[in-house]
C-alpha cells in the first residue's frame, strides 16, 4: 500500500510539473467558466428573483462555473496520457515495478489538484463580485474538496478512452460528454420551474445532485440531505469511471 501511495505521489508530481511548464493549456480552463459565469449572471441575474425566486443568482451560478472548470481540467489527464502512449513513455512506466493503477491515478490526482486551485480562483472572483456564501470557510473547504473529487472522478472518462484507443481526438471527445449533462440539470434555473419532461431527465441526471449539493453550501446553509445526494453522485461517477479505467488498463497492460 505504501508503495502504491509513493508511486502515485511521484507520478502526480510529474504531471503537475508538466502542467507548470505548459501554463497555456490551463488558461482556457480558467477562462471558459469565468466567461460563462459573467455572461449568465449578467443576462439572467437581474430577473432571477422575479422569474424563479432566486435572490443570490451570483451564488446560484457559482457551482456551474466550478463544475465547468473542473470538467475542463479533468479532460487533461486523458489527453496527456495519449501523448505518453504515443511517445512510448507509457510503456517505459509499465516496465517499472510501479503498481499499474498508480500510473493513471497519478495523472488523475494531478487534475484534481489543478481543479482545487482553479476553484479557489473562481470562488474568489464570485465573492469579489458580490456572491454570498452561507456556510463560511468550512463550507468553502467542503465545496473545494467536492469539486476536486468530481474532477478526479470525471478525469477517469478521458483516461479510460485514452487507454482503450490511444487517440487524442477520442480522449477529447469523451470530455464533451459532460456538457449535455450540465445543461440537462438545474444550471440556469431551479428544477422546480422546469417543464415536466426536462424535470424527469434532470432528476435522473447525477449532475443535478452535484449542482444542488454544492449550491446548498453557497445559498442555503448546511443541508445534510443535499450534501449526501451530491456525495453519492460523485461516488457513483467514481465507481463508473474507475471501473472503466481499470478495465481499459487491464486491456492495455497485457
Amino acid at each position: 500500500m505504501t508503495r502504491f501511495i509513493t508511486t502515485t505521489w511521484l507520478l502526480m508530481a510529474r504531471a503537475l510539473r508538466e502542467a507548470r511548464r505548459q501554463p497555456a493549456n490551463d488558461l482556457g480552463n480558467a477562462f471558459i467558466p469565468l466567461f460563462f459565469y459573467a455572461v449568465t449572471v449578467g443576462a439572467v441575474g437581474g430577473v432571477a428573483r422575479e422569474a424563479f425566486g432566486v435572490d443570490d443568482y451570483k451564488g446560484f451560478q457559482l457551482p456551474v462555473a466550478l463544475l465547468q472548470g473542473a470538467a475542463g481540467i479533468a479532460g487533461g489527464a486523458g489527453l496527456a496520457l495519449t501523448q505518453d502512449i504515443q511517445s512510448g513513455y507509457f510503456e517505459k512506466l509499465m516496465l517499472t515495478s510501479t503498481p499499474r493503477f498508480a500510473i493513471v491515478l497519478g495523472r488523475m490526482l494531478a487534475d484534481a489538484v489543478k481543479a482545487f486551485g482553479l476553484s479557489i480562483l473562481i470562488i474568489a472572483m464570485a465573492l469579489a463580485v458580490g456572491s454570498g456564501f452561507e456556510t463560511g470557510p468550512v463550507g468553502m473547504l467542503v465545496l473545494l474538496v467536492g469539486t476536486a473529487a468530481f474532477a478526479l472522478a470525471y478525469s477517469g472518462i478521458g483516461v479510460a478512452i485514452a487507454l482503450k484507443t490511444g487517440s487524442p481526438q477520442a480522449a477529447q471527445a469523451g470530455f464533451l460528454i459532460f456538457f449535455p449533462l450540465l445543461f440537462l440539470a438545474p444550471t440556469f434555473a431551479p428544477i422546480e420551474v422546469f417543464a415536466t419532461w426536462l424535470e424527469v431527465i434532470a432528476r435522473a441526471n447525477p449532475v443535478t445532485y452535484l449542482i444542488e449539493g454544492q449550491r446548498s453550501l453557497i445559498t442555503a446553509g448546511w443541508e445534510p440531505a443535499a450534501l449526501a445526494k451530491g456525495a453519492a453522485a460523485i461516488a457513483g461517477i467514481v465507481a463508473l469511471t474507475f471501473t472503466l479505467t481499470g478495465l481499459a488498463l487491464r486491456g492495455r497492460s497485457r
Binding site: R17, E18, G88, S97
Partner: protein, 327 residues
C-alpha cells in the same frame, strides 16, 4: 541457471498474423545474445513478451528464473529494457526522467541522486542533464533511454535495435557500454538488423525469419557452418541464376549454395582454386556471368542461407520502396 529461457513461445495477433511462431531459447547468464532478423521477423514481439509487455498466445518463458506470466512484477525488477522507439517524456529534463524512473523502482531519493549523477556521467549527459528532453538530439535521447534502462542496476538487459538510426560515433559508444556492462556479468538480449553489431557484440546469435528461429550459434559457428569462402555470381536474369544454381551445386568442393534473385552464392572451403572451374562450367552451360566476387563467408551469408534473402539487400529494397512511395 538460464538468464532467459523460453519453450514453444507463440504470439498470434490473429489467425493469419503469427508474429512469433513457436520459439525456444536458453540463454546463459553473462552472455550477449543477439536476435538477428529483418523488420517484421518477430524480434520485437519476442522482446515484448519476455519483458511482460505482451501476453504470449502459448508457450512459457522464464527470465532470471521467474515465469513472466506468473510473476511479471518480479521480472520487471530484474530486467532493464530499452525499446526500439525511445520512450521519453519531452517535457521533463534528463535528470528528472532518470530520477523518476529510479524512484518508481523503489530506490531511495539519496541513492537515486547518486545513481543518476553516475549514469549521466557514463552516458555523457551531465552538461545537458537539466535541460528538457525535447531539445536533445536523437543520439542524446538514445543514450538517456539506455541510462533509464540501467538505473535500477538490472542483471538482464533487453535492447531492441539499440543503434538503429544512430550515427557511427554514438553507435560505438553504445557498443562500448554494452561491452563494459557485460564484463561486469550483465546478460544482454539484443535485437539488431546490423550484422556488424551482432558480429562484434554477441556471443550467440539466433536468426529469426517469419516468426521462427531458423539458425542458432556463435557468429564463428554460423559462418563456418557454411564454409570459409563465399563466391557470389551475378546474372542478367532470375532464370539464369536459377539454372546456374543447379549447375554450381553439382560441382566438386561446393558445400552449399544460396539463391537470391539474380544472385547465386556458393559456399566452399577453398574459393580461390574453384573460381576458374565455376566460370568454365557456367560458360559450358551457356550462362553469361555479369559479376563475380570471392570473399570470406560473413554473417550475411549465414543469414542468406538460413532465410533465403540478404539482410543488407532487403534494406536497400526497403529504402527504394520508401523513396518510390514518396515520389
Amino acid at each position: 541457471m538460464s538468464a532467459v529461457a523460453a519453450n514453444g513461445l507463440v504470439k498470434h495477433f490473429s489467425p493469419d498474423i503469427r508474429a512469433v511462431d513457436g520459439i525456444d531459447l536458453d540463454i546463459p547468464e553473462g552472455q550477449v545474445f543477439g536476435f538477428l532478423g529483418q523488420n517484421g521477423s518477430g524480434k520485437t514481439t519476442t522482446v515484448r513478451m519476455l519483458t511482460t509487455l505482451l501476453r504470449p498466445t502459448a508457450g512459457t518463458a522464464r527470465v532470471g528464473g521467474i515465469d513472466v506470466l506468473a510473476d511479471p512484477d518480479r521480472v520487471r525488477k530484474l530486467v532493464g529494457v530499452a525499446l526500439q522507439e525511445v520512450g521519453l517524456d519531452d517535457l521533463q529534463t534528463g535528470r528528472e526522467q532518470l530520477s523518476l524512473q529510479s524512484r518508481l523502482f523503489g530506490i531511495s531519493s539519496g541513492e537515486t541522486r547518486r545513481r543518476v549523477d553516475h549514469l549521466l556521467e557514463i552516458v555523457s549527459l551531465t552538461d545537458a542533464a537539466d535541460r528538457p528532453v525535447k531539445g536533445y538530439s536523437g543520439g542524446m535521447k538514445r543514450r538517456l533511454d539506455l541510462a533509464c534502462a540501467l538505473v535500477h542496476e538490472p542483471r538482464i538487459i533487453f535492447l531492441d535495435e539499440p543503434t538503429t538510426g544512430l550515427d557511427p560515433v554514438t553507435r560505438d559508444q553504445v557498443w562500448r557500454y554494452v561491452e563494459e556492462l557485460n564484463r561486469d556479468g550483465v546478460t544482454f538480449f539484443l535485437t539488431t538488423q546490423y550484422l556488424e553489431e551482432a558480429d562484434r557484440l554477441c556471443h550467440d546469435i539466433a536468426i529469426m525469419d517469419r516468426g521462427k528461429i531458423v539458425a542458432k550459434g556463435s557468429p564463428a559457428e554460423l559462418k563456418s557452418s557454411i564454409g570459409t569462402d563465399a563466391i557470389t555470381v551475378l546474372f542478367a536474369s532470375d532464370d539464369d541464376a536459377q539454372r546456374a544454381d543447379s549447375r554450381i551445386r553439382q560441382l566438386p568442393g561446393i558445400d552449399s549454395t544460396a539463391l537470391a534473385g539474380r544472385e547465386v552464392v556458393a559456399y566452399l572451403r577453398n574459393g580461390a582454386s574453384a573460381v576458374a572451374g565455376i566460370v568454365l562450367a557456367l560458360n559450358d552451360a551457356g550462362l553469361t556471368v555479369s559479376e563475380l566476387r570471392l570473399a570470406q563467408a560473413t554473417l550475411d551469408d549465414a543469414f542468406l542461407r538460413a532465410t533465403g534473402h540478404h539482410l543488407e539487400v532487403d534494406k536497400r529494397v526497403e529504402v527504394a520502396a520508401v523513396a518510390g512511395g514518396a515520389a
